[in-house]
């Protein structure tokens, strides 16, 4: 557990470094809120092999909140899929495989091209159906932002998943309660949020998205892939988590850090790490 927690801090530090060297916008707020989830998945929960990315039995991971692509790239690099240096050196540049939203055509290690919100879950339903049809027992895991569940296509897919009894489908929701320009509940009444998923017939698990033990328990408790109900793990998170001046701050949905702010952010992260790992 301690090792996973350390990795999550390393992931955050790497994110901040990229955000400090790249001049364009990085969706740092939603990257930091999802960093623990990415760590739990890529370093514990997902059965994937960076040396065999096309293995038909691998778990599939779909990033529906595509703007967190850089967090996914770095989490995958820490698992051995790509080189972190390659990401930092080329991110957002001409002909790079790494940019704001994931593209499978440019980066075959990712499962799908995403970015427009509300698209990941229908794609995941298709992949889960295909797995069922082939008699394969891997899982299809989709990470959504809570804001994007305002898109109707998410609920169309939620209905299709339940109707087709896709117990091999797992959605993780990064419930950071912030949209781009507002705090979510100020604009959209998402609550009672878990009940909405329950009403669609899903198996609902609530987790603390910044407590590795809670995330690991959620993963360990997933029903068998052969079961008949899709599962959603609703992870309570904080946008900008780990960097005090970014937490709960609408200004840090996306941005870039200058050299001075990078030092400040890394110091804040270190302070959080000391406080939380005591």
């Amino acid at each position: 557990m301690a090792e996973l927690e350390e990795r999550a801090y390393e992931l955050r530090a790497k994110l901040l470094h990229l955000c400090g060297t790249y001049e364009g916008a990085v969706h740092i707020g939603g990257d930091l809120s999802a960093a623990d989830i990415f760590t739990a998945l890529f370093h514990y929960g997902l059965d994937v092999d960076p040396g065999d990315i096309s293995n038909p039995r691998r778990d599939r991971f779909l990033l529906s909140k595509g703007h967190a692509a850089v967090c996914m790239y770095i989490a995958m690099s820490m698992r051995g899929f790509f080189s972190y240096e390659g990401i930092v050196e080329t991110y957002g540049k001409l002909d790079s495989a790494y940019g704001m939203h994931p593209c499978k055509v440019q980066l075959p290690g990712v499962e799908a091209s995403t970015g427009s919100l509300g698209h990941g879950l229908p794609l995941a339903v298709g992949m889960a159906l295909s797995a069922r049809h082939r008699g394969e027992t891997h899982r299809v895991v989709c990470l959504l932002g809570d804001g994007e569940t305002g898109e109707g296509s998410v609920w169309e897919a939620a209905m299709a998943a339940r109707s087709n009894e896709l117990g091999n489908l797992v959605a993780f929701v990064d419930r950071n309660r912030q949209l781009m320009t507002s705090f979510a509940e100020e604009r959209v009444a998402f609550e009672p949020y878990p009940d909405k998923w329950r009403a669609f017939g899903w198996n609902v698990v609530e987790a603390d998205g910044h407590d590795m033990a809670s995330l690991v328990a959620a993963i360990d408790g997933l029903p068998a892939a052969q079961s008949d109900r899709p599962t959603v793990v609703i992870c309570e998170t904080v946008k900008g988590k780990g960097v005090d001046f970014m937490e709960h701050n609408l200004a840090w949905h996306a941005g870039s850090l200058g050299a001075a702010d990078l030092e400040r952010a890394l110091a804040a992260l270190e302070s959080t790490r000391k406080k939380e790992t005591v």
Binding site: V105, S113, G118, A128, L129, A131, H133
Partner: protein, 326 residues
Amino acid sequence: MPVTFTFGEMLSARSVIGTTLAELGETHDNLWVLTPDIGATLVEFRDKYPERFLDVGLAEQACVGIAAGLAYDGNIPVVSGMLPFLSMRALEQIRTDVCYPNLPVKIIGTHGGLVGNGGSTHYAVEDLALMCALTNMTVTSVGDPNMVGEVLRQSMSMPGPIYIRLAVGKKDKVLYAEGEHDVRIGKGIVARDGTDATIFTHGTTVAQALDAAEELAADGRSVRVVDMFTLKPIDEALIAQCADETGGKFVVLEDHLAYGGLASRIADVVADRGIRLNGFERLGIPQVYAGFGDDEELRDKHGYGLAATVAATRRVIAQPSWPTSH
């Protein structure tokens, strides 16, 4: 099971879809059929391969997204439904989930043009403009019901997506005798030869163009009719050839907005290749939301019925002829 049809008869394109998909399902064990609650056509496939059939209910966006997910996993999905909704409500899914990764998803459906008497919510009149704008998308509009089967069969080996537009698809005129034409996606069909002018058309108006040519033949006019059933990629060579061989006189007739569909595709080729024309008329739906009425009445009302087609063709033939070599 092969089915034979007689030229000139009416036939349901929908039944051809059903028969063809059931046949293709046998040889392609990765063929899936999906629909947002428009399933009557697909019963044959559904009953034969229930495990590869998915009716998602009224959810066009998820239907296309799920199809893309299946295609990512090595399957060949066919999404069948009503085109006004597939082409617009699920437009972004078609663009982003299907065309961007260039997946072999086939979008096939009915209600292309002012057909079915459903009113403007139920007419697909912008669909070809939208689909032609999408990178990687092959765009077809099929009139002869037998051709639907042929296009579907050919599309099985295509690596990317295809859009197949039908009219109502319940009762369609068989235009071509079996084997009369070499139907190939990307190549136009010279449905009737002629030298005084060419009418380019697609889908349900091919029959009307043939009737117009017949009427003009009674006046001694020789009018060519080209069934340009593939709008993208368009048969540029055939367009150039028709300019040369029919006096540079073009009429474009389509059951779609007059701007944005086949007429615009042909105008682009003419401009880009520097083809000299001696007359160009476009017949299609003006910028109106058409009301109720059967398809023939609506075409007459909106200026692209049989009489209008004959009149426009006469006008282009009457244009002075200059050499069209380019």
